[in-house]
Symmetry: C2
Subunit: 361 residues, 2 copies
Amino acid sequence: CKVHKICVLPGDGIGPEIMEVATKALSVAGGKEGETFEYKQCLIGGAAIDATGKPLPDETLEVAKQSNAVLLAAIGGYKWDTLPSAQRPERGLLAIRAGLNAFANLRPAIVPRQLADSSPLKRELVEGVDILIVRELVGGIYFGQPRGFGTNEKGERIGYNTDVYSEPEVERIARVAFEAARKRGKRLCSVEKSNVLEVSQLWKEVVIRVGADYPDVELSHMYIDNAAMQLLRNPKYFDVIVTGNIFGDILSDEASMLAGSLGLLPSASISGSGPGIYEPVHGSAPDIAGKDMANPLAMVLSAAMMCRYDLAIPKVADRLEGAVNAVLDAGLRTADIYKAGTPNTRLVKCSEMGAELMKHL
Amino acid sequence: CKVHKICVLPGDGIGPEIMEVATKALSVAGGKEGETFEYKQCLIGGAAIDATGKPLPDETLEVAKQSNAVLLAAIGGYKWDTLPSAQRPERGLLAIRAGLNAFANLRPAIVPRQLADSSPLKRELVEGVDILIVRELVGGIYFGQPRGFGTNEKGERIGYNTDVYSEPEVERIARVAFEAARKRGKRLCSVEKSNVLEVSQLWKEVVIRVGADYPDVELSHMYIDNAAMQLLRNPKYFDVIVTGNIFGDILSDEASMLAGSLGLLPSASISGSGPGIYEPVHGSAPDIAGKDMANPLAMVLSAAMMCRYDLAIPKVADRLEGAVNAVLDAGLRTADIYKAGTPNTRLVKCSEMGAELMKHL
Ligand SMILES: CC(C)[C@H](C(=O)O)[C@@H](O)C(=O)O
Ligand SMILES: CC(C)[C@H](C(=O)O)[C@@H](O)C(=O)O
């Protein structure tokens, strides 16, 4: 039992509302297991731009680095959409990922049994889907140099970016993915575009080499276009997927939709050494901000992932996840996951969902 | 009425079988409208590698350039999978696209009413979906320089590619997309990742500028990750999508799956000046090659697109499309689209599908 230092970043839109529920739930669940949390709240995203002019103030990164883990709600909103892109809220997100070297983004794509009917896919295809997407998060085309604007030899204006991976970058993310696969279904699918791109050829080669250390994990390879297709055709084929930054961005959002809603999907971005970042997959939903309509459950499940990974207090994670299951079983639904006419369900506000959650902790 | 010179590239796997059906159907349909076709058959892909050592022999490109249009079936197979990637069949495809400057890849994602139940998505979501994806095909990260392998400043081995677009490259594909949207639902969605990538910022800026010439077309913008999600959540939202080479590769394959099968999906890759390339979306299916099991309909529909676009003989296209509809209405299904137990359908071989098709022409 110790004090866990959590850097709390409510961010924008519905962020503060859902963060309030999640930290309360975390404190209560931790209390039952004798764990204590110390929260330091900092600015990021639009809120930080308004207060300091920067989407990631130095102080926020400092506090994050000194903490055991970072809980982040959501960033962005219409208000900042017209800023030049180098000054937008998203930059804060990219900067904190890079600043903490949070290179491994783990995004479970699970279809919760209580909501299997909300999937756009037919029930028989998605029931039981349980995919873990491991996305490289601090390399690839998001950060590759050179990048920018210029002119080509014909004098035409161009925009360009570099997609690049080094051997050690691929190796460390591959190891995270193999380790994860080993603890689950023991199947890993590496996704790239090696029939066209050199960066993907290096990726594939390194993944195969690392795979030699994991003979118990079945490794397969798939082109990104085919993977985008197979996620629809037969999502149960997948156990763990490992892929680069931009392909992971696309695939994990596509896979999220298998659940029909982002309302229950958490994510972890871990560094292996320092603190990781735990955040829901959904965005800041500026249209419903401040209306007590948000769904706090993905934020709570992100806190659970934090307990499991960085804080190594799995019992607290179990409690949080158990409570989320209990409120869903009890039929409570926020607007995003409510479907009129479904028997034994009831539309609730964010605060009520929070209050009910506490009862089940 | 004139003689249309067609460069015929059967390629690998099931390619020759489906090409035979398509050229026969084309000749018959053309005959009824007084149009004549002259076919010159050339090598590409694995077949070309075996015969000449090159996936795109110079002679093939020469014949293609002298023709009015290129009909391509499919390339690739297990046999060539172990070759170094610079010598693989796919390179032939990339080379002929670049060689003919076929910059605009048009891929309709339509869910044929006869097969709406084969979609992995719920019927109410896909019924009536009619999306046209306009993918830039000879630029972006597929062809950007510099590319290759090297070492970074830490001495680590790297693989890298450059994603780059120039203003004129974006402008010409945007015009194709706006023109297409104008003839359809008048809605165009440009897909990029401008919140992270400079190449996407240029893309978006140019698309907006070109859009000023098309006030009758409603232009929207979407990030690629969100587009991958919305294609599942609400595919009917989309009319025409315009996007770069790699994003188009991914999105068009994902969108293909909305139909449940690739068996009916054609594509056109047009240059605006010289001959375009017309090919089915599906691959060479080496596992069923030579077994008379392939579905020739996407190849026939590709020939129809050729008649509509490059050859400007829409009446022949109408005849081909009408015949495809007729055989589907008659319940004929090749193995890939056959679902045991569906009333009034019958499993047929490739040759039988071809013969029935001729009857309806
Ligand atoms: C907001 C954006 C920069 C970010 C990304 O592309 O990584 C988001 O889409 C995500 O997946 O977390
Ligand atoms: C075979 C491959 C090089 C090709 C591509 O990526 O363009 C294919 O996936 C396609 O979409 O036509």
